[in-house]
Symmetry: C2
Subunit: 450 residues, 2 copies
């Protein structure tokens, strides 16, 4: 079904006040990540009717499923009063993302209309950068006193469960909010009713600092197999929790950044279809120019060997093939090593093992490619001399490319540079110039030039 | 701490029978994914002592944290009897992965020594390919009859919780194992004790077919925000569950495959450091040769334009720069589009929007690069004529590269080919040959050759 059919459909459902069908439609769109497409073309009148039909809670949940920027845009079409009510009904972490998408004046207008307590909660969340644990966490956790009994804790849970984002963990805090233990719902249900919470709680709680990178939080959840991880400030006070359903978002976001870097451009912060061309240009032109400058010296190399080129034009025929193969071999290694580092399979101290492995691999690949390029030279009828030159060159270039491709990402990581900047284009560019030097040096010796 | 220090340490702890310290050391190594490194150099005697010290349960859990191949190797160092006991104590899905790493004869030897019921369970799991829902699932779920009351269900839960991998969901099945509903622990705890299970269960259960791709299962868990998803056979009978802690494994594995394809090689199925060089060669040589063949015709193009090359050698100076820039611009687009498809941001029907966006982007990028390459030509002193040729060429090549880079992944996906095969090397290779044709055509017209 195309987007415009969707819109007809949603407009019809709004006009006919079909609440249940609307919720079904919106929920299935949410699972496909296409809610924004569905609602962006609604008239302001329809948006108002939709908000009325769904009520604050469901409308708020709908906004939570959208990209924060799109949700913010939708929200501005409601009266400020109504928008504030919706924000109050939303999960605080989602609400903070939406408010964070406004400029400061607009954000303050909405926060001013909200209940003071809830506005303060949002201001607190907004004070952390969005890609940190603080920016990701929700304050909607359940915390109880260590002096309750297990059965009282279950009662407290029943009362608090409405507001909380997870009830699978109950945190135990002292009177000053210091996190002193954790209970799992599983543990609570399985332990005798009269036991004091203090005796069943786990004291050695795994936490994440509020200023940690969001990736650290996701990694902690995964490594320890948790459903939620508590976020604490520098004095050990419980500030919020990050739940397991944030993990796939975080992994997706961080992996997308890695992949775009490997493709040789700066990561987009918004969905591709929303990015304007000038924005795409800004993300790409930097690397394109850097790679251009890095490659420009190939011209100097070729100008230096002008006499050789004029003497043996056939050498030119193989230039793209030789440097291209070097770039390809290098890019295979770079992507493998960058990925192996990202998932923790290799670290810097493995460097000698890696180089040795790649050297052996490079020799085998290089010999195979040498046979292939020698055969190609016979087909082009350029003579056995040139065939030997290109065969030796491709062997040397492949070995050189895999070695550089293996070492560079490891060294960059050691220098605290994101190894994903050693993109396929980067290694290809690097191999282009050095590959030509190798080529003409071998040609000079074998053909007895210079 | 280096690996060899670790081994000294673990050997010492085994010799001194320090069970708790051993478990601490092994658990922290497990979180870093380095258990295999830690135990691979132990003597057979030490492995025996370690198994005795830890007991079946903890030793089995240790194996579950390792790569299946490594775990299998460790297991062969125990007596078959003892190994079978450990396998029985393990989570069935982990045990199946380990047994799956043996060859058939070895696997049968272990299965023969195990309790018949547990062996049958493993044989069943082993019958599904490892990257399907069936291959990922565990049969360790809790299923109850719809005729129990909520409080009886909680009692059943207490009894069954030991064996189950999650107690957050309780599945309701009829006498023939058909899945008819699901209860969340949350729902059970929050509902009155006397309510029949039938009345509190959710009947509309989200399931995954046993032969679905593991990626579908992970996506379902994420989209619906579930902690576990039930896996059913074609007659709707409950076969197993996949829990949320499998999701990050699955995403990691599938993303790694995508990234390696984008880098121009076939995905590795094992950790990089365990892959032997000949294995790396096998994964890479295919694409390297395909790209070689695709690029070989650049030689034909250049041979065809031999006269032009001899007349204006300066054209050669810019060849690597022009085709390199085209490859870089194309690879930026390809990685962005492939990733946007993988996360569901774009689909085939967006193709016109995408091409229009990339055309505008390409024109802006191309103009910028044309200015840069014209400046470079002045520096090399090759004359304004050649400067105009290379300027026009880079503009045309960049526009061409971004357009092809945008269309190809979308079309391939439509043809059911994994779009990640349109790697950065692939697009660079494609642009090399066509770029040279563009170059010499423009040169022919502007310089009045041919």
């Amino acid at each position: 079904m195309s987007t415009s059919e969707h819109v007809d459909n949603i407009s019809t459902l709004i006009r006919e006040s079909q609440r249940d069908a609307l919720i079904d439609l919106l929920m299935s769109a949410a699972r496909e990540g296409r809610v924004s497409d569905l609602v962006q073309d609604l008239t302001t009148r329809e948006v108002h009717e939709l908000a009325d039909l769904l009520g604050e809670d469901d409308f708020g949940e709908l906004l939570g499923e959208m990209e924060p920027g799109d949700a913010a845009q939708l929200l501005t079409r409601l009266a400020v009063r109504d928008a504030a009510d919706v924000l109050e009904a939303m999960d605080p972490d989602d609400a903070a993302d939406v408010v964070g998408a406004f400029d400061e004046d607009q954000a303050n207008r909405f926060l001013f209309e909200m209940e003071p307590v809830e506005a303060a909660e949002l201001r607190q969340l907004l004070s952390y950068p969005p890609d940190t644990a603080g920016g990701r966490m929700t304050p909607a956790f359940i915390a109880i006193s260590p002096d309750l009994r297990a059965d009282q804790a279950v009662v407290a849970l029943r009362q608090l469960s409405e507001e909380a984002e997870t009830i699978y963990y109950v945190y135990v805090t002292d009177s000053e909010d210091h996190l002193i233990g954790v209970l799992s719902l599983r543990g609570l249900v399985l332990s005798p009713p009269e036991t004091p919470v203090r005796n069943v709680m786990v004291e050695d709680v795994v936490t994440v600092p509020v200023d940690a990178d969001q990736e650290v939080a996701a990694q902690t959840l995964t490594d320890y197999g948790l459903l939620a991880v508590p976020v604490v400030d520098d004095r050990g006070r419980l500030q919020g929790i990050i739940t397991s359903d944030d993990v796939s978002d975080i992994i997706e976001q961080e992996t997308t950044e890695d992949i775009e870097r490997l493709g040789g451009s700066a990561p987009l912060e918004e969905p591709y279809l929303r990015a304007r061309p000038i924005h795409l240009v800004k993300k790409r032109i930097g690397w394109l120019l850097i790679l251009f400058l890095a490659q420009a010296y190939t011209g100097t190399v070729l100008a230096f060997y002008e006499d050789t080129l004029e003497a043996v034009t056939a050498l030119v025929f193989f230039m793209p093939l030789l440097i291209g193969t070097g770039g390809n071999a290098g890019s295979q290694v770079v992507t493998t090593i960058v990925r192996a580092m990202a998932v923790g399979d290799v670290v810097f101290r493995d460097i000698l093992k890696i180089v040795w492995k790649e050297l052996q691999t490079g020799i085998m690949l290089g010999v195979a490619m040498a046979v292939a390029v020698f055969a190609r030279s016979l087909m082009l009828g350029v003579g056995v001399d040139v065939g030997i030159v290109v065969g030796l060159t491709i062997l040397a270039i492949v070995i050189w490319a895999v070695t550089v491709g293996a070492i560079l990402p490891l060294v960059l990581r050691q220098l605290k540079v994101d190894p994903a900047v050693v993109s396929a284009p980067f290694i290809a560019t690097l191999v282009d110039g050095t590959g030509l030097l190798i080529y003409f040096s071998i040609a000079g010796v074998v053909l007895g030039l210079n």
